[in-house]
Subunit: 333 residues, 2 copies
Amino acid sequence: MATLKDVAQLAGVSPRTVSNVVNDQPYVAAETRARVEAALAALDYRPNQLAKSLRTGRIGLLGFVVPDLAQSHFARLAAEVVQAATARGYTVAVDQTHGDIERERRLIQLGPRGAMFDGAIFHPEALRAEDIEHRESEFPLVLVGERIAGDHLDHVYIDDRAAAYEATKKLIADGHRRIAAIGLRRADYARTAHLREEGVRAALAEADGVAAGHHQYVERYDAEDGYEAMANLVDSAERPDAVICFNDMLAMGALRRLHEHDVDVPGDMALVGFDDITEASFSFPPLTTVAADHAQIAETAVKALIGRIGDPGGAVQEYLVSHRLVVRGSTRG
Amino acid sequence: MATLKDVAQLAGVSPRTVSNVVNDQPYVAAETRARVEAALAALDYRPNQLAKSLRTGRIGLLGFVVPDLAQSHFARLAAEVVQAATARGYTVAVDQTHGDIERERRLIQLGPRGAMFDGAIFHPEALRAEDIEHRESEFPLVLVGERIAGDHLDHVYIDDRAAAYEATKKLIADGHRRIAAIGLRRADYARTAHLREEGVRAALAEADGVAAGHHQYVERYDAEDGYEAMANLVDSAERPDAVICFNDMLAMGALRRLHEHDVDVPGDMALVGFDDITEASFSFPPLTTVAADHAQIAETAVKALIGRIGDPGGAVQEYLVSHRLVVRGSTRG
DNA sequence: CAGTGCTCTTGCAACGTTGAAAGACAGTGT
DNA sequence: ACACTGTCTTTCAACGTTGCAAGAGCACTG
């Protein structure tokens, strides 16, 4: 692998001049530039990014850390983050925590992998507010997803309360009269779940003649949990005629249970999810769901992170990203 | 950020000794080690990976390059690759080509991002055999997916021909008598498609009284294409009673078309896909599909790549990974 | 008591790049 | 002839680490 020195020798100039040519500095004589460029081509010179980074302090690498890349919500986010980062000259390294709280704590403190990154975008799963409050590191970090950070870290989020409120309103408008939610959490750090719950309750409280079903608590947020939760509802004496699931995987599981019980969706029961994962549009019926704008989240997070890298001391910011209800076959209308 | 030098000064030893402590070298006196460790803790020393890499030549970073991370097949692969690489002390950087052939060509030659990686795992989309034959770079690269490399690059693949053969055999065994395929490609570089086609034809040729349906050519491999292709089959005079789609997204699109035409699956028509993406288990009915072992592919590719990094000149190898038919509701039996 | 071997520690240079600043040269004005 | 300006080029050191080789101290050997 040719270095600046090799090229310099071949072209008969100093390494510094070669560097100037490579980096398009002014004040290089046309004749010299030509000679150097010939040498560059002859040796097939490619700059050593490592050495460059060591010298300049900028690595051009962003971390993107999620619980599990295989979950389509995170995969789509990752795709958009890579896109947005690439457009700005950064490469993205991915890491998975699998919800391991120790790993997440370490990450918050150190940044991923001994901070071989300029900064990171992090979607925590198990982390709590207090973990973030005690953060000492200066490592540039932007949080996505759960809104647990208080005022301590930059954060990109959607208005979960409003989204749940709107989804519930729509079910009421469609004529449903008993509405349950699947996906509540008891733990007080599960902010997102609580906000969605609030939204649902607010909408129900405003409506006349609409009852709340037996809201279902779950441990994880996967299809299995949705399948189990729906078991409690489908044969209940007070079976709801509409159910809001706090993510799409829960809804997928719930839907499977409904199929097995020959419950017509949305005739007998309407179903709404959250996240708009790709599975949602291929279920039968396709799922009505609250879609955050993945591209906008990614774009915002990357921009925020790069801004933070450039200004480590600046004021912490929150970024609100829009959402919308994607109406498909699992609801009427 | 504290450096070896700072720690050395505080501990009253040379930087080299601190390095020895950090890297657990033998021949450090217990007393010295203790003093250095105290200093390390006091200054919260963390090694600069960049400097280390510059010196040692090993970066600890693997590239993983796919057409589009949002596609669940690639997302799952990515998740497993990250897992396997992490277990071996490597970090994974992800890049997307979106099927851009120029980008893929560049990648084959240079490695991603000016080779700021130790090596890369690459799932090409548009690349052809001749692009690889003319490769000059020594950059450690392992291919996954399309088997286009000939003997020029390490490659991890499944036996597509056998997989398609087995799937077709199963349909025949289930009593289907007219079997069509969706997903054929005209271009001669689309090896995977051709192999699957061969497998289907071989199984059909062996069977008595089983006809081939009108095999469908497609441009891309997405739901839209499957939806369109099925339009040609569903109302045809010679409607097949079973269809093999060369990936799951094609099958998803086909399934949607069947729903719209009120065709019972699998009663009136059975459906088989390839890849076992998560969507496949949540469609209605859930999709029977050929599943490659993602974990095994990832594990094999990472191992192969790390091996290649350690031995750039070694003989090129091919790795065959197992597959199996996941039988779900879209087929009988 | 020189020679040998063992443990522990250090100094130096190097990885490939760039920032800072000085040097070389030609042209211009006085 | 001299200072000054502007263009072009180079020198030097530094980023933080580790490989190499040598040095220091000590005990044991013959």
